[in-house]
Amino acid sequence: MIVVRIKDVGDIIKARSAVKDVAEKLGFGIVDRTRISTAVSELARNIYLFAKEGDVQIEELSNPHKGIRITFIDHGPGIEDIDLALKDGWSSSNGMGKGLPGARRLVDLMEIESQPGKGTTVIIEKWLKG
């Protein structure tokens, strides 16, 4: 497992290049690599914006799907209403509100666990097809 700490803006790019690296090694094509790294951009930026710091963990998946799993962990303010946060266009920070819903459309699986005041964990997976 590879862990990238998110503490400043540059770390978002670090997380993205680490993920791209792993995805390429696993055999993901350019379109899927771009999707995965864009989702990583969104979720790592959310850590940076809302929780200030956190971790991005990158793992290889073998069972039942071959692919990649990326986990975003922070101990920030948490998300009050996850359904609302997943709505297209909803943002608490006058962003575009595209990050969470967009990331969800870019991957095969996304799970969010969050407790207000405790922090947020987002898991995404992209599977190799065929």
């Binding site: 951009s41 930026r45 967009g102 870019l106």
Partner: protein, 215 residues
């Protein structure tokens, strides 16, 4: 013959202490298992097993910390080089009278985007530019923050009275933008820089004619 267990209480306490420490991530135990290994004593085997295991775990943790530090160092180095390259590669090119091209290369974070936009807007008003082409062939990722930024830049350029076209959106980037749900609908886009230039010249009412009969 029943086997003897010496100092049962204190040894159990030590074992428990070592396991608790290991549980919190501290693996440097300093215990002499016993002065001389007494294999008649049934607890000795357990002690040896546990302490050896803890030691191994400690080594593995050290190893993985070292590796993750190495990775971190590598990522830091790449990031520094990336920044250095990007500082160098942010030209704004006047390719025609009243036509500017901003060829974006690499990753766009907020700070860099802002700098580029400022430079672009300054140049536009200084050179009375009428058409601006933002070429993103060299941008591997357009996430919502970058898209948002592009939209704002286009709007600012238009406020200065210039028109603006974005060229060079790669196919995989285009797909990703659509999935993200970002709407670039209000922005003029063309597939490559050459088309952008043609578009710009059209807007300025230039016509490019190929001369007939010339070798």
């Amino acid at each position: 013959m029943s086997k003897r267990v010496k100092d049962l209480d204190s040894r159990l306490e030590r074992l428990e202490g070592a396991l608790t420490l290991a549980n919190t991530g501290t693996f440097d135990i300093d215990v002499e298992v016993s002065d001389e290994l007494d294999f008649d004593d049934p607890l000795t085997a357990v002690e040896t097993g546990v302490y050896v295991l803890i030691n191994d775990m400690g080594e593995q943790v050290m190893e993985s910390r070292k590796r993750s530090q190495e990775l971190q160092d590598k990522l830091n180095l790449i990031e520094k080089q990336r920044q250095a390259i990007e500082e160098l590669s942010t030209p704004i090119i006047k390719i025609w009278d009243q036509v500017l091209v901003l060829p974006l290369i690499g990753t766009l974070d907020t700070r860099r985007s802002q700098k580029l936009t400022e430079a672009l807007l300054t140049d536009i008003s200084a050179t009375q530019t009428k058409v601006t082409i933002i070429d993103i062939t060299g941008v591997p990722n357009v996430d919502s923050a970058v898209a948002n930024h592009l939209l704002k830049t286009v709007a600012a350029v238009q406020l200065l009275g210039a028109s603006c076209v974005i060229t060079g959106i790669r196919p995989e980037v285009a797909q990703t933008i659509v999935h993200l749900g970002v709407d670039l609908g209000g922005v003029e886009t063309l597939s490559n820089l050459a088309e952008g230039l043609q578009w710009a010249l059209n807007r300025l009412k230039y016509r490019i004619l190929k001369e007939e009969g010339v070798q």
